[in-house]
Subunit: 344 residues, 2 copies
């Protein structure tokens, strides 16, 4: 086993868009597990938009990554050495050990993955946090009813693609928003959304309106910005808006002052007169729904009702660039970093 | 019986604050009921903030009052003549016949009031629309749990006073906001709120913070404006915000452009990271809860757990001025207009 490994630490807190110099790749000595712990080798690292929040020290639901701390994140790992009775060398587990090649973790916080059920990478994708985010936010807050119109942006991404496909399973009209013709074609033709609008189209708002002739009943908010501005006037009475992310606004939220959004002077009145329901959530708020998720989602994936796409960059060193790309939509599908081979 | 009567019609749509010339008092011939109808004589007219919305023709949940149309509103009336089998002369009913001395109405839309249960004026107050607004919005959206902090403004008013007292019944800390020392004393000493803050106090925000040492779990929004600005930073994770009214903003909402509120650039992020739940409602959305309301509220009133105060002006002609005062908090308690005596 190697005596030293590589990890990515947070070198500085980005202002606005993160840049390469906000990260630092460094060598470290591979640690040894104590009693109750295991040594993990990272196979797949998941990159997700929420990580932008962890890079800043404003108020949030979680503490930020400290300066010089390892960037956090979900990972699929192989157990290399175990001092925890329920895990043995060679087991594959889901961990939250972040942007590094090796890590020691308490055995009791790890979830063992059965490679026979699905490719192990899905444990950080459609069968993991992003899939569960889509499932819980849409069903528990969005409460879509057959015949209603559900809109979601980043529709080719890990969360958005699942939102629209679950909406179809529930009998809804699913309208996606994505960046560029290739993604829109994929969302409509492969994933089976009813429509997909290109957010780069200067007529995006008018096209979204045309794609939602009966208005919008559920808007699964994961981007904010111009998409929300286009959605806002189309919201129907009693619309539900699960607020899951604001990727389009992260760099400005964590950056300088910006002009107030166009909806600022009317949103409270809209909430009142349209009886809108805005509700923020993070996936862990709905941990109690995991049994339902794991009852439904693997079957939907197996039956082809929920398709998914992975976008892989190679090597831990690619993570900072891939993450910067993710915030701009450079990925096409769930963003993964292959940190190591499936078997050591 | 008089052959002619007086009514108040909408003369023009106010821009900003309504003024006397936006109303016109006129004479009209008392109509006669057709089959299935009754002739009503108004005893009590209810004045409520929502009426400001009906004076404007912006998008809302209800059509506006037409120009030259009778101002709408809830009323407690005596049946003077009946061609509807279930009502007879002398019965007292709740109607929505508005700002006029006499009106014809379909018998089937009226609710008969039993004068033995409570003073008949409570049918447009604590046992009517305002009481049910408080009950349903607080319990169905606010979902207050024992030990939580509930904040409501206009706390000496018809809705706010019931919100805080129901919160106390549910074991919460109730903090009110009201205008002036007399109202604050009443809210705290008579109604039993834990604290009441004067919104005219230049230190209102700091005092509200001191009155809510554990933050705010439920904010029953009925005023907007500066009160919401003071509440906003105090909202706890998972806070619920039933949005029932925005009285402080009505004149500007229906007036000219105003600067964006201070929270405009952060509210979507706050919804996300604090997992806030903003939900608008009007009382009729919760008509299905009427049996629960009428099971609980009369008992609470009888037992002194929910007290209420009425603020009466005399004569239909006083209605425009009383309504303008209501929007500025000139009333102290539920605003009523005595249009006629209890018995003709």
């Amino acid at each position: 086993m190697a005596q030293s490994a590589k990890r990515v630490v947070l070198a500085s807190r980005p202002v606005g868009e993160p840049k390469q110099s906000d990260f630092r790749i460094e060598d470290y000595a591979i640690p040894s597990p104590n009693d109750g712990q295991v040594l993990l080798r990272t196979i797949w690292l998941s990159l997700d938009p929420y990580m932008r929040g962890r890079m800043s020290d404003g108020p949030s639901y979680s503490a930020p990554v400290p300066i010089d701390g390892v960037m956090e994140g979900g990972a699929v790992c192989e157990v290399m050495d175990s001092k925890f009775p329920d895990l043995k060398k060679g087991d594959i587990v889901l961990s939250h050990t972040g942007w590094q090649q090796y890590a020691v973790a308490d055995g009791k916080v790890l979830r063992k993955i059965d490679p026979k059920i699905a490719p192990i990478s899905t444990a950080v994708g459609v069968l993991g946090m992003p899939g569960m985010t889509a499932y819980t936010g849409l069903l528990e807050i969005g409460k879509p009813k057959a015949g209603e119109t559900v809109v979601v942006a980043a529709a080719s991404g890990a969360v958005g693609s699942a939102v629209g496909q679950i909406a179809k399973i529930k009998g809804c009209r699913a309208v996606g928003i994505a960046g560029g013709k290739d993604k829109c074609d994929y969302v409509k033709k492969e994933l089976g959304f009813d429509e997909c609008i290109d957010h780069r189209d200067p007529d995006m708002a008018a096209k979204l309106k045309a794609a939602c002739p009966k208005g919008i009943d559920v808007y699964f908010e994961n981007v904010g910005g111009a998409v929300f501005e286009a959605v806002y006037p189309l919201l129907n009475a009693f619309a539900r808006i699960p607020v899951c992310g604001l990727i389009a606004d992260y760099n400005t939220i964590f950056g300088k002052d910006t002009p107030a959004p166009k909806w600022a002077n009317s949103i409270m009145r809209a909430i009142l007169v349209k009886r809108l329901n805005f509700r923020g959530f993070i996936v862990s708020d709905f941990n109690a729904m995991y049994p339902e998720f794991i009852r439904d989602m693997p079957g939907w994936v197996r039956d082809g009702k929920v398709k998914h796409k992975e976008f892989v960059t190679e090597g831990l060193e690619s993570a900072p660039g891939a993450f910067m790309g993710l915030l701009k939509g450079a990925n096409f599908g769930k963003q993964l970093v292959r940190v190591g081979p499936d078997k050591a």
